[in-house]
Amino acid sequence: MIWAKEFKVSMPENLKLVAHDYIKNYNYEPFNTYKSVVNSKMWLIPPLGKNRIRLDDGGASNKLSNIRELVTNITGLALEEETPILAIWRYDDRFKHCPVHIDDGGEHTGSIVTCISGSFKLHLHKHDDENSDIIETITIDKNKLVALNNTIFPHSVEGQGDLIVFGTSKQTNIKEYFNEI
């Protein structure tokens, strides 16, 4: 099984426009919501209330439907419909590095990552340990989609800018999808 697949892409401009508009109008999720987010600013579309109930997103999900369709067409992965469909993670001077982790897969198995500003390095590590050696690195920019085998392989992210993460459908067969020699 491989840890990631990369795809070159010309992302329609409305991803950036919708995301920026959303950031202006909605609060980021409370700090320390997730194990690996620590105190980074993260916006979820739609936002989540208590007990992870989806709140109104002002139509943002609908505005991103063409992007979601494109992402599925390019990567061959169906995207999550029930839980937040997309996360915007801001990496700035206070948060430059998402520590090494393996996602538990509770909400989605497999992630698709791109960005709308800046650039990032997605690292594959030998072990799920902060000091673990980096085995391989993928550069993420706005012209790339990376399908990440996030529930199997230890990974970390560093960079500056706004990282976009799409969750893949719970029905995704990751063994089949990431099964390359």
């Binding site: 491989i2 697949k5 990369e6 795809f7 070159k8 391989e136 993928i138 790339k144 390359e180 020699i181």
Partner: protein
Amino acid sequence: MIKGIAEYLDIKVDRGLLLSLYEKVKSDRVVEDFNVFGKTPFESYSLEFNRTGKPTGYEKIFDPILSQHRKVHPHYQFRSTGFNTANTTEKDVFAHTDVDYHTEHPNGYNIVIPVLGNSRIDYFETKDEEVYLPEKNAHGHAYYHEFYAQKEMGQGTPEFEKFLNDRKIGHIIVDKPLLIQTTIMHRVVVTEAPRCAWVTRWNNIPKDVSFQEFKQKVENIL
């Protein structure tokens, strides 16, 4: 597709066979087991080592496919025949030609069969005054052209990308087997990685065998 330059082939492909052959040679040992080319970050499991010109031994391993391809035409270039791989979309092959000036007959055509990932081949208007033969292979033969502009502007610079865009004449997506003409400047853009494709470069083909005639022969036999 670009008619007469890069066209899809209607042939049967045994992807399982290709995957099994790739699995036999796939390795992490740079230079010892596969070629890297400096300006081209592709990794190539071809029939000879590019630095020495010595056989890699893969001709025997790849015989299940090469024996079929020899039925099409008995001559192929060792350096370019085999698996080309890239583990990232950043590992493109820069604009170039493939040429064989030392063979008895001048024509050469490449079959490209996708195995993993995806890619695109871009073609560029090729003017004699804009290209040159930058180096010779281990056998002492010039084997590809490069744009002067690449040396002057730098590979991957915005200036050189504009130069290429101004000369682009078309492209073909490598999602099915294809036959390509290689004397026109072209580059490979990896659009999905990991990417692996099989290439047989048939060479020493008589000058009166046209691209279309050769394509027909490939489709009749394979």
